[in-house]
């Protein structure tokens, strides 16, 4: 497997504005890893579990990090998080919740479901870019993923 392919970021975001801003922030942070975008929870699950349109993907080649919005059409972010963390094949993928919601319940529940980081998207773009850069550095560069069993 080509190493660069396994450094993929899965960005799950329904709002086109936020999508563009997040991509811009990642770019500004010099995180040039391939980004795969899912526009709702169902598509995200298909990609992660290699089902539906992504049936041809290899589940043993997971995204390096999942950036997950919570409020999503079809299947919401907490449900996606629950499925990813509840399946031994995918539980090791770092999931960063990136959301507008400051609701305590969401934070508590995300952590209960095993989220790796929780970032409230600030209105201020510079601060948002800063947060994205930090989490990108951490999860993509510093954090060593567990060796896969291949």
């Amino acid at each position: 497997m080509n190493e660069s392919i396994s450094l993929e970021i899965l960005l799950v975001e329904d709002s086109p504005d936020d999508l563009e801003l997040t991509q811009r922030a990642l770019r500004k942070a010099n995180l040039t890893n391939p980004i795969h975008i899912a526009r709702d929870g169902a598509e995200a699950l298909d990609f992660i579990f290699c089902e539906g349109d992504y049936a041809g993907r290899d589940i043993a080649n997971p995204p390096r990090v999942i950036l997950l919005d919570l409020k999503l059409p079809k299947v919401d972010g907490l449900e996606v998080l629950k499925r990813v963390k509840g399946d031994p094949r995918t539980a090791a993928i770092p999931v960063v919740v990136l959301t507008s919601s400051k609701e305590q319940n969401d934070v508590v529940e995300s952590y209960a479901l095993g989220v790796n980081s929780y970032i409230v998207k600030p209105v201020n773009f510079e601060r948002f870019a800063e947060a994205v850069q930090q989490l990108g550095m951490y999860w993509l560069l510093l954090n060593q993923p567990p060796r896969s069993g291949r």
Binding site: D18, K71, S100, K102, Q104
Partner: protein, 631 residues
């Protein structure tokens, strides 16, 4: 030898032959010739020859006969030996058998008696052979022998005939007897052989089994009777309890957790104009619907809410007076007022098993009040009570709406938090993108506008955040505990260090006694008050901020005093309102939520907050946490 009278010749000749042949002189009377010399005559010679011939013949045949006889005797012996061996074998079998094997003749006299018979009956063969078999029979069984012999004489055998026999020592034993006829070589019946087996053990086992069976049946019958008695008693008690419950003077209804009616007291049935048959087993709200013509009817909804409380808390819930009209048998509704208490009956694992719904019919109280009947003290008392009931009912209704509104607010704040911020992010983010990517093409004025747009978006974001924090405060639950105020204030000051950067601020901390409150909420109070003090002293150098606790008319109060810009006390009433600001945004930034938040927190702790200020001479904010008591 003596010569005598002459003998008949043949006799003489035969005798001579015999003497010659045998050497024996029969009768010893044969006359011997004188001189001992037997002189032959011609007649005598012929006779002698004949005699000799006869004698030889006789001897030859005699030898054959002897040989024959000997052979016959040999055969006889072998046969006898064989027969004897067989007989011995049979006898041994008979002797060694555990069964009694007895032979008897047709008169019932014992002819043989084996060891088995001796073992079973105790008599030896010597004692029994020649004795009548009837000796073994108890008197009441003597008739059997005649019957048995009758069968035998007719040539029939008697197989496995169970009877009783008496032993030598007088004990009676159970035996199984088979009797068959003995015939001689001509087939004539000459007696009987009897085989008897001791079946006393078997009989005893059978009797034991029968007895056990009988005992078992008896025991089962006894247990059944006992159970039936207990059941009957339970039924009796149950029906007693039922009738006790039914005749209780109060109005009671027993419900399952899903509100199916299980039982009702007579008084309840009477008050609601129903019968037990009509309502038991049916759903409560199916039986008692709201009056469809009364559009303001809330009885069913309130009652349902109360049951929800009972189920959730597993604790009794007292309701305010309810207007809950009752359907008359003719289908019209009668206006009624009730005072209900719903209590859970808890089962295993603290789960609600039943709900007891107890009501009082207070229609009279309520209607008398409405009718304006003002007679006498007692009547007025009742009227007042009724008013209290009614206002309690109204309050309950308000509470219910409030609960609902709170839930709606929660959902509302969630979407505010999520959806309102998203477009602001777009406004801010894309403005920034324009500045970054197209700065060169923008005139200075255009860049300034974009910065203003960003500032506006960020201000809006701050407002939303503060507003959410404020609304969350009313929902958050309080966890009071002892709080060390001094430590709390010092940690807040450390946190606010960035706000003091580059400024000379003289922070004076006085005595700060411990207090009781929610640490997170109290921290918010200090953060807001101290931030304000730093903000509004921005134009002072050095700024002085005093923190402490001092006696006031409201009791000992914490205070934060600054030498800042202060405010006009004429507007003090606006100080703690949400979004209220006493300063221009360009002078002092802010959302107008900070003090409102502080105000609410202090109030939730049962305390008071007030301020004392003078324009340009600074401000002091005081707060207590519990009314009139030292904080």
């Amino acid at each position: 030898m003596k010569s005598g009278a002459p003998q008949a010749t043949d006799t003489c000749a035969v005798g001579a032959a015999l003497v010659l042949a045998t050497g024996v002189i029969p009768g010893g009377t044969f006359p011997m010739p004188a001189g001992g010399v037997f002189l032959p005559t011609p007649f005598a010679v012929a006779g002698m020859a004949l005699l000799l011939t006869l004698t030889i013949l006789l001897i030859a045949s005699r030898n054959r006969a002897v040989k024959f006889k000997r052979a016959l005797a040999d055969i006889d012996l072998a046969e006898r030996k064989r027969i004897e061996a067989t007989a011995a074998q049979l006898a041994a079998i008979v002797e060694s058998s555990d069964d009694a094997i007895v032979g008897k003749d047709l008169q019932g006299i014992v002819t043989s008696w084996n060891a088995g018979a001796e073992k079973i009956f105790g008599y030896s063969a010597a004692e029994m052979v020649g004795q009548p078999i009837s000796r073994l029979m108890p008197p009441e069984r003597l008739h059997e022998e005649a019957k048995i012999l009758g069968h035998i004489r007719r040539g029939e055998s008697v197989p496995h005939f169970e009877t009783v026999r008496r032993c030598k020592d007088g004990t009676l034993i159970d035996v199984s007897i088979s009797v068959s006829a003995i015939r001689d070589s001509t087939g004539k019946i000459i007696g009987a052989s009897k085989v008897a087996r001791d079946i006393t053990e078997r009989k005893r086992a059978e009797r034991d089994i029968r007895r056990f069976n009988v005992e078992l049946e008896q025991r089962v019958a006894e247990r059944t009777a006992q159970l039936e008695a207990v059941n009957a008693e339970l039924r009796q008690r149950r029906s007693e309890l039922e009738s006790l419950f039914e005749s209780l003077p109060g109005l009671y209804l027993v419900l399952t957790p899903d509100l199916t009616i299980v039982a009702a007291s007579d008084a309840y049935l009477k008050a609601t104009m129903t019968t037990r048959e009509q309502i038991v087993g049916r759903g409560l709200f199916e039986v008692f619907p709201d009056n469809p013509d009364d559009l303001e009817a809330t009885g069913a909804a309130n009652l349902r809410a109360s049951f929800d409380h009972v189920r959730e808390d597993a604790a009794p819930h007292t309701m305010a007076i309810q207007k809950y009209s009752i359907r008359r048998p003719d289908g019209t509704f009668e206006e009624r007022y009730w005072s209900p208490i719903n209590s859970p009956v808890l089962g295993l694992e603290h789960k609600v098993k039943y709900i007891i719904h107890r009501v009082e019919d207070v229609t009279d109280f309520v209607l008398r009040k409405s009718s304006g009947d003002t007679l006498g003290l007692r009547a007025r008392m009742q009227q007042m009570e009724a008013e209290i009931f009614l206002s309690a009912q109204r309050m309950q209704e308000v509470n219910r709406k409030l609960e609902f509104a709170n839930k709606e607010l929660e959902a509302f704040s969630y979407s505010v938090s999520h959806d309102l911020r998203a477009p602001l992010r777009a406004v801010d983010g894309f403005s920034q993108a324009v500045i970054e990517d197209f700065a060169a093409q923008l005139p200075e004025e255009g860049r300034r506008y974009l910065l203003t747009i960003r500032k506006g978006a960020q201000q809006m974001g701050a407002l939303i955040d503060d507003l959410l924090a404020f609304s969350r405060l009313s929902r958050a639950s309080m966890h009071k505990q002892e709080v060390r105020t001094g430590e709390l204030v010092r940690s807040v000051l450390a946190e606010l260090e960035p706000q003091r950067e580059g400024r000379r601020i003289d922070v004076r901390i006085g005595e700060l006694p411990a207090c009781s409150g929610d640490p997170a909420l109290l921290k918010q109070v200090w953060v807001n008050l101290l931030s304000n003090a730093f903000k509004y002293t921005r134009k002072r150098d050095p700024a002085v901020v005093e923190i402490g606790c001092e006696p006031t008319v409201e009791g000992d109060a914490f205070f934060v005093r600054d030498n800042g810009t202060g405010f006009d006390m004429r507007y003090a009433d606006k100080l703690f309102g949400v979004f209220q600001r006493l300063h221009r945004a360009e002078d002092y930034e802010g959302t107008g939520v900070g003090l409102a938040l502080v105000h609410r927190i202090v109030h939730r702790h049962g305390g008071l907050i007030w301020a004392d200020a003078e324009v340009d001479r600074g401000a002091t904010f005081y707060f207590t946490l519990e009314e009139k008591s030292p904080p």
